[in-house]
Amino acid sequence: MIITIKYFGLIAEVTSQEEETIDFSGNTIADIINFLNSKYPDLKNKDFQVAQNQELISEKTKITGQEIALLPPFSGG
């Protein structure tokens, strides 16, 4: 499955990019996080939430969407 992953704030600094497209065969968000943790070892100690198709979701959620986003703590306002 082709998935676009978006990175924001501190997370985009760790990955050195704001977006990438990967061909991924895992089932859950946890699988994606594991994959990204090995690709970007510095991600492991960072605090972030995951959104799928613009909704926050848990690690157990199945991958259904084409757009995943890694969101560090919010700091608007």
Partner: protein, 147 residues
């Protein structure tokens, strides 16, 4: 998700005081309103480990943020008797002392606007994926976290 595209809340750079003044003026024709309340978020020159914040650079997951702003707006209209509501948030560089968030609520009666404004601002801080990079005077930075 609906087909309706949510309104864009973001403005590039600081929110000018003229814009805020004009927004107030535009409501003079809406004579059922008896009370306005306004929140202005201003960038603070915090001193952290001896270094002073000179600006915050805002980025956002804009599509999701606009959906969240829209949901907050809908929910506020359901909870409170509001005549109208406007929200603007900055993107990009906002210097210390400049305005980065403008929330404007109006109602026939005053008590409603105090409660509604606090509700909306707290929801924005908690729910909306906006990220602030605090830039220090020596060009180093750290990422802000809302309490």
């Amino acid at each position: 998700m609906t087909d309706k595209k949510p309104k864009n809340v973001f403005k590039q750079g600081p929110i000018p005081s003229e814009f805020i003044g004009e927004s107030i003026a535009k409501h003079q024709t809406k004579t059922s309103i008896g009370a306005h309340n306004i929140f202005l978020g201003q960038v603070r020159a915090d001193v952290i480990d001896g270094k002073t914040v000179s600006a915050i650079e805002y980025t956002a997951y804009e599509d999701m943020a606009n959906v969240k702003f829209d949901a907050i707006r809908e929910s506020a209209f359901e909870k409170f008797e509001l005549t109208c509501m406007h929200i603007y948030h900055s993107l990009g560089i906002v210097n210390a002392g400049e305005i980065c968030l403008f929330v404007f609520v109006s109602s026939p009666r005053r008590k409603v606007v105090f409660k509604a404004l606090e509700y909306i601002v707290e929801e924005i801080k908690a729910q909306v994926p906006v990220f602030g990079k605090e830039i220090f005077e020596d060009d180093t930075h750290q990422w802000k976290i809302n309490n």
